[in-house]
């Protein structure tokens, strides 16, 4: 028996369904090789003397405000952030999010704020009692990637954006499977 060819309407419906299915993937895997100079809030402000490498003096520049991190919805950026988190030895103090010498990053407690700009400033400026200032040492684009990854650790990113696998031994459940830890609004520093 020969099936009758699908009607024009059916074919349109099929094509439409495929396009709709493809839409969610638009942003997710986008590689930005030539990122525009992104805002670097408070790059020069430092609140600690600790930093990697020998001391550096920089002249202060006013910090422009920015609106959210550029990699919050980009799975590739977040996975790069995960690689950098380990390569730049964030894990040395914060472990894989459970904390050690440094505070844990996978819980709901944020001493210096949980929005991307807060975390950016924490990385760039450093914080009292041990967090080194990475300003000038990590380019802002990579800091934003690390920011997005840090947020994924407590489930603050969308599940389809957060990393689903590790390059090394699995020491924690995948970021993708992490329950969202709603940030505490008024943490005690």
């Amino acid at each position: 028996m020969i099936a009758s060819p699908p009607s024009r309407f059916t074919r349109l419906l099929q094509a439409g369904a495929i396009v709709v299915l493809m839409l969610p993937a638009c942003e997710r895997e986008e590689r930005r090789f030539n990122p525009p100079p992104s805002a670097t809030p408070g790059a020069a402000r430092r609140v600690t003397q600790l930093q990697p490498g020998p001391p550096v003096q920089t002249i202060g520049v006013p910090s422009p405000s920015s609106k959210g991190g550029p990699y919050e919805e980009n799975a590739y950026g977040v996975s790069q952030g995960k690689t950098l988190y380990n390569q730049f030895n964030c894990a040395g103090c914060h472990s894989q999010g459970g904390g050690g010498m440094g505070p844990p990053l996978m819980d709901d407690n944020w001493l210096y704020g949980s929005v991307p700009e807060n975390i950016f400033e924490t990385i760039v400026q450093g914080r009292p009692n041990g967090m080194p200032a990475f300003g000038n040492k990590i380019v802002s684009d990579q800091v934003w990637q690390i920011v997005a990854y840090v947020r994924s650790m407590s489930g603050l990113l969308r599940k389809d954006v957060a990393p689903g696998r590790s390059d090394d031994m699995y020491v924690r459940s995948q970021e993708q499977a992490t329950q969202k830890a709603v940030p505490v609004t008024d943490p005690q520093p």
């Binding site: 590689r31 090789f33 030539n34 990122p35 100079p37 990697p52 490498g53 020998p54 550096v56 390569q87 730049f88 000038n136 040492k137 990590i138 380019v139 684009d141 990579q142 390059d167």
Partner: protein, 323 residues
């Protein structure tokens, strides 16, 4: 085609210009196969043409005679095919045996680690302070077997210097090895031969075969730490290096920079190319590479670093002192 390749003779990147016993065995096996295939191809085409174009009629043969002659032809052709394939099986195995045999204890050991998208090359020694690490440039002494311990930190790569030997994969979590012995001094190009991501095509390397003496001199120089610059501009350049994002990934022995994420730059100025055989190592290329590597190798792990022109010039002057 990058200028870095054009600097050498065209035969420095070809399987048909063998410069080691291994490559010569592979090349002659290839030649034998090519020649045999060519002769057989001509014979088959000639037989086909004869069968289609020959004049029919004339002397009529009986069915029995025709059957017998056809049977003989098929048997002879089948036997010849089997024999030829068997001969090549034996040749293939003997070449494989010859190029993988144990090179003996006097061989030099070199550890090559594949990274996306560059090669880390390390000459080890019983004393760790004598280790020398470089990148994308493998120096080997002429006439001495060199064994390569192949590793990878991220994905599968494959080491392929066509003038010197075949390909061998670098597999994460596993150690592989290959060896060759360069016959004559020269600069040969090699390439990653296993697709490994965005910049797989720009993951090249140079093999520099040189006489024993100059190899030993080179290795001794590579073991040294970098000298502290004496002039003020280079000193300023060192400060720029240590206070910007360079220090997070690169090593310069003799300074606090000791990260092993990117290539070791202790003797950067002694290398012929930058960015894994992509560009000749000149001041201008280096400047372009530091300021916007993403324009040269899109997707490369090195981020674009924005520097003042004074800082950049000082940094370049410093990097040029790293002989």
């Amino acid at each position: 085609m990058t200028p870095a390749i054009q600097a050498q003779s065209p035969s420095a990147y070809s399987v048909h210009g063998p410069h080691s016993p291994q490559a010569r065995r592979i090349d002659s096996l290839g030649d034998a196969m090519y020649l045999t295939s060519a002769i057989l191809f001509v014979l088959v085409v000639a037989a086909l043409l004869w069968a289609t174009l020959r004049r029919r009629g004339g002397e009529e043969r009986t069915d029995e005679r025709r059957d017998r002659s056809m049977r003989t032809t098929v048997i002879v052709a089948t036997a010849a095919t089997t024999i030829i394939l068997f001969v090549f099986l034996v040749l293939d195995l003997s070449v494989g045996r010859a190029i993988t045999r144990n090179p003996g204890p006097e061989a030099l050991q070199v550890r090559v680690t594949g990274h996306q998208w560059w090669w880390e090359v390390q000459y080890r020694d019983s004393l760790p302070q004598n280790w020398a690490t470089t990148a994308n440039e493998i120096h080997v002494p002429v006439g001495r077997p060199v064994v390569f311990e192949l590793r990878s930190t991220d994905v599968i790569h494959s080491l392929w210097p066509p003038n010197l030997n075949g390909k061998r994969d670098l597999i994460p979590g596993n150690e592989n090895s290959i060896w060759f012995q360069a016959d004559s001094a020269g600069v040969y190009r090699g390439q990653c031969a296993e697709f490994c991501g965005h910049q797989h095509a720009k993951m090249g390397f140079l093999v520099i075969a040189e006489p024993q003496d100059s190899f030993r001199t080179w290795l001794a120089a590579q073991r040294d730490t970098a000298m502290t610059p004496t002039d003020s501009i280079a000193l300023r350049g060192q400060e720029v290096f240590l206070s910007s994002s360079c220090v997070m990934c690169h090593t310069i022995a003799g300074t606090p920079a000791g990260s092993r994420i990117g290539p070791d730059l202790t003797h950067l100025a002694s290398r012929r190319t930058i960015a894994a055989g992509t560009l000749p190592n000149t001041r201008g290329n280096l400047a372009g590479w530091i300021v916007n590597p993403q324009a040269i190798k899109p997707g490369v792990r090195m981020p674009s670093t924005r520097l003042d022109s004074d800082d950049l010039q000082a940094l370049l002057t410093y990097l040029e002192t790293l002989k």
